[in-house]
């Protein structure tokens, strides 16, 4: 992967820049010793690493603003960081960049059950937002699988999703307000505890902008009352196509499950070996979860069973208890870990129209054979967000490159059937160069023009999202480091 060559003048002025930052930040909030910045050299895209110039860990919004102001004045690139769980390299630094991390800012500022909102500092982890309100019967809906570790700041930057977004939407649908610090150090409140924008919907722009428009330090989030209960049904099929048709029929019948998860044979076998969830050995497995009272759940699961029966399932298991539910979910939840036991893997994140599922699965298995790498499929079938897992051996020379090439082919396939490169992980550095397959030059130009408005000097996460050659003129004439 290519990254721009670091700005030599910034590297040469490291001591001066660090001293300026120390002047406005509390002791211990600026880290520049190589043995300490090392911990920030990558995010969850661990294949690529680079220690930053320095790391700043502010304790207040004002300190974030002060640090950004200095970086802006000194022309130092900034890489915002939440919890560093990005799978796309969204928080991956360059050697001339200052990381600004909001991990120390994790307070709940306000909970308001009457208006169903919570205001938090964005260093707070996703799961602990729910943790703060669940005793009162509420929860925060977006639930990325990294929710134990990932921060709301990163969720907002990447517009994170999760398994339950078929019903509850993704971050952008659950975010009402943000306190944004601009690269110039201005603190701006966008949106608030009300349900629509008073002018242009800037909040929609900020959410999912991958840290390229500013740093969000506080967020007003929508919280929802917890359903009375939830239970899944597990359905096994001997044919991917039939499983896809079943998903479509469930949706057409007017049932809106909270989640519809899909696993293929490779993943089923891997998880059985790993977790022993008792899944049938079949071609495709669906886990469909519905919510409500016990009686409502029974009625909905009965409807789903009736639909599934018409497609001749090899297995149909309706959960009757919390214990049975946990067992059904066990395999799905350990799928990534199970695949990791077999080999290194790369997790893709393209989305496709649900109707294209059979075609895409068929093409993926052809590509898998062509490249000689195994691909397992586990994904959110209700919304078409695929997570093909490509198995490779990181220690085998050339295998990572081959895996990345196969990944690129699969993502191009997703685009060609009317889908997109990334459904919930973000573009980051990982899918940056593929953007031209989804967007025309004009499509990308107007997106970059948005960045021009918020960050004229292109200092915020500059080498992300847009192909390097496409953003080159905006980032200034820089050489590229292979």
């Amino acid at each position: 992967m290519e990254m721009p060559l670091p700005d030599q003048t910034v590297l040469a002025r490291k001591a001066e820049i660090v001293a300026l930052l120390r002047r406005v930040l509390p002791a211990g909030s600026v880290i520049d010793a190589p043995e300490e910045t090392y911990a920030y050299e990558c995010d969850a895209l661990t294949a690529y690493r680079c220690p930053p110039l320095a790391v700043v860990l502010p304790e207040t919004t004002e300190q974030v603003a002060a640090a950004l102001k200095i970086c802006h004045e000194q022309n130092v690139p900034v890489v915002p960081r939440g919890a560093g769980t990005s799978l796309a390299g969204g928080a991956m630094p360059t050697s001339d960049a200052v990381i600004i991390g909001i991990a120390k800012m994790n307070e709940v500022l306000e909970t308001d059950y009457d208006n169903r909102i919570i205001r938090v500092q964005t260093g707070r982890t996703n799961l602990s937002v729910t943790g703060a309100v669940e005793e009162n019967g509420f929860f925060y809906a977006p639930d990325p699988s990294s929710q134990l570790a990932c921060a709301i700041a990163g969720n907002i930057a990447m517009n994170s999703g999760g398994a339950h977004c078929l019903k509850y939407g993704v971050t952008t649908n659950n975010l009402l307000g943000a306190r944004l610090v601009t690269i110039e150090g201005d603190i701006i409140d966008v949106g608030g505890p009300y349900m629509d924008a008073g002018g242009l919907d800037l909040l929609a722009l900020i959410c999912g902008s991958e840290g390229q428009l500013g740093i969000v330090t506080e967020a007003t989030l929508r919280i929802l009352p917890k359903p009375e209960g939830a239970r899944p049904i597990l359905i096994g099929f001997d044919d991917n196509e039939v499983a896809g048709a079943c998903v479509s029929d469930v949706i057409k019948a007017g049932i809106l499950p909270v989640a519809i998860e899909f696993m293929d044979r490779i993943c089923i076998r891997a998880t059985e070996d790993f977790a022993g969830a008792g899944y049938p050995d079949c071609e495709a497995l669906l886990i469909v979860e519905v919510e409500g009272s016990d009686a409502e759940i029974d009625a909905q699961l009965e409807r789903i069973s009736e639909i599934a029966q018409k497609h001749n399932p090899v297995e149909l298991r309706q959960s009757q208890s919390a214990e049975e539910s946990a067992k059904i979910w066990l395999g799905r939840k350990s799928a990534f870990g199970a695949m990791g036991q077999i080999n290194d893997y790369m997790c893709l994140d393209g989305t496709i129209p649900v109707s294209q599922l059979p075609l895409v699965l068929r093409r993926i298995s052809e590509l898998s054979e062509e490249f000689g790498l195994k691909v397992g499929n586990v994904f959110h079938a209700g919304d078409g967000n695929m997570h093909p897992l490509i198995l490779f051996d990181a220690n085998k020379p050339g295998d990572l490159e081959k895996c990345e090439d196969l990944g690129a082919e699969i993502l191009k396939l997703c685009v060609s059937v009317g889908g997109c490169l990334t459904g919930e992980h973000g573009v980051g550095v990982e899918k940056r160069e593929l953007m031209t397959h989804q967007f025309s030059a004009d499509d990308l130009d107007i997106q970059m023009a948005v960045k021009d408005v918020f960050d004229e000097k292109w200092l915020l996460n500059p080498a992300k999202v847009f192909p390097l050659s496409v953003s080159a003129s905006r980032r200034g004439p820089q050489e590229v480091n292979r």
């Binding site: 308001d112 208006n115 517009n159 952008t172 009300y194 959110h380 459904g423 004009d442």
Partner: protein
């Protein structure tokens, strides 16, 4: 001008020499200075996959056509766009592009989200005449910046939408409404909050201090399969434990008419005065309303949306000190007037307009 294709639309914009007033169906009664360009030539549903809950349509497609196509498959636009003609006194057939441009979202917004939340992608012509695509037709998409949601609610000030793709949802088997009579505004908002905070998935919560029969009425809507709605109506009643007189309405005609009455603010139809639309935190609503001189009021979204019919000299905004939110003059002297925004937001919004529409062609002055 009524361009017939996206290419024609792009050419028209490229060749434009003076400000343009963009029109969909003209149902929102806007008066904007400029040469009129209508989107109604871009008409037709491009793609509809009921099994994927996805519909793609050209921007000028009449909303009635879209609703009819969806109804044929037992589906709907869940964000429940209002028919604003009765309120603005205009004629014309609302288009899907106009609905999106206004981020027009009805009572169900409080539970399922606004128009912008169902918008999966757009195509539009920017001020340079370039055809831009953003988003797509899939439900989960974080590829690049979300310009689609930016276009929603931009009232045609950033570009001409030519195509929109939307997530749609199934029609429920049954609708049930719990009506509570005689509550004052404060108590009504409290009851609505309690209902919306319950696990019973209330999909509409509205209150009229003076309802159809002249008395206060609070409306709570439940939708779903019959067995579920029946159960939830009862469970909700117990949960609220309200002393107010209660009526349950399940007749399809009456529940549909009742929520159309809320959606379209029929209470104000045919009455003189300025119409304000105020968006606030629900719990702030009753006290705010008590400070405003008004002839009629309707609370929707559990109190988060207030419709006010006011004397022409009443300035609603001057009463909003200390209240977070915004007020839009929907009908009054001149045209639609948006709430003035903080300087930093104005600067960013103007910056965006300068990039999207550098020649200042589109709906000049409409949003400030």
């Amino acid at each position: 001008m009524i361009p017939k294709t996206e290419i024609e639309m792009a050419e028209t914009i490229r060749e434009a020499k003076s400000p343009i007033a963009l029109h969909g169906g003209g149902s929102r009664g806007l008066s904007v200075h400029g040469d009129p360009i209508k989107t109604t030539g871009l008409n037709g549903i491009t793609l509809y996959e009921p099994g994927s809950l996805t519909l793609v349509a050209q921007a000028g497609t009449p909303i009635l056509d879209i609703e009819a196509a969806l109804a044929a498959e037992g589906q709907r636009l869940a964000f429940e766009p209002m028919d604003s003609r009765g309120l603005t006194g205009s004629a014309g057939a609302s288009t899907i592009g106009g609905v999106v441009a206004a981020n027009n979202s009805g009572p169900r917004r409080v539970s399922v989200g606004a128009c912008r939340d169902f918008l999966l992608g757009v195509r539009f012509i920017d001020g340079m005449g370039r055809a831009i695509s953003n988003g797509g037709r899939v439900m989960k998409n974080v590829t690049g910046y979300d310009l689609a949601k930016l276009m929603a609610g931009s009232w045609g000030t950033l570009g001409v939408m030519t195509e929109v793709s939307l997530k749609v949802l199934p029609n429920p088997e049954m609708t049930g409404v719990l009506l509570l009579n005689g509550l004052d505004d404060q108590a009504a908002v409290a009851v609505m909050s309690k209902a919306l905070g319950s696990p019973f998935e209330v999909t509409g919560a509205a209150h009229a201090p003076v309802g159809v029969d002249g008395h206060p009425v609070t409306m709570l809507r439940l939708e779903g399969f019959e067995e579920s709605v029946t159960y939830r109506l009862d469970a909700l009643r117990q949960h609220l434990a309200s002393d107010a007189e209660q009526v349950i309405e399940t007749s399809p005609d009456r529940t549909t008419a009742g929520w159309k009455w809320v959606r379209d603010v029929e209470l104000f139809h045919g009455r003189k005065g300025n119409v304000w639309r105020v968006s606030v935190k629900p719990s702030d609503a009753p006290a705010l309303v008590s400070r405003i001189e008004n002839d009629a009021v309707l609370y929707d979204w559990g109190g988060g949306l207030i419709w006010l019919l006011c004397p022409e000299d009443e300035d609603v905004r001057s009463k909003m000190h200390g209240v977070q939110g915004h007020a839009t003059l929907v009908r009054g002297e001149g045209h639609l007037l948006f709430h003035p925004e903080p300087t930093a937001i104005v600067k960013l919004s103007q910056g965006l307009r300068a990039k999207f529409d550098p020649r200042g062609l589109f709906n000049q002055g409409l949003m400030g």
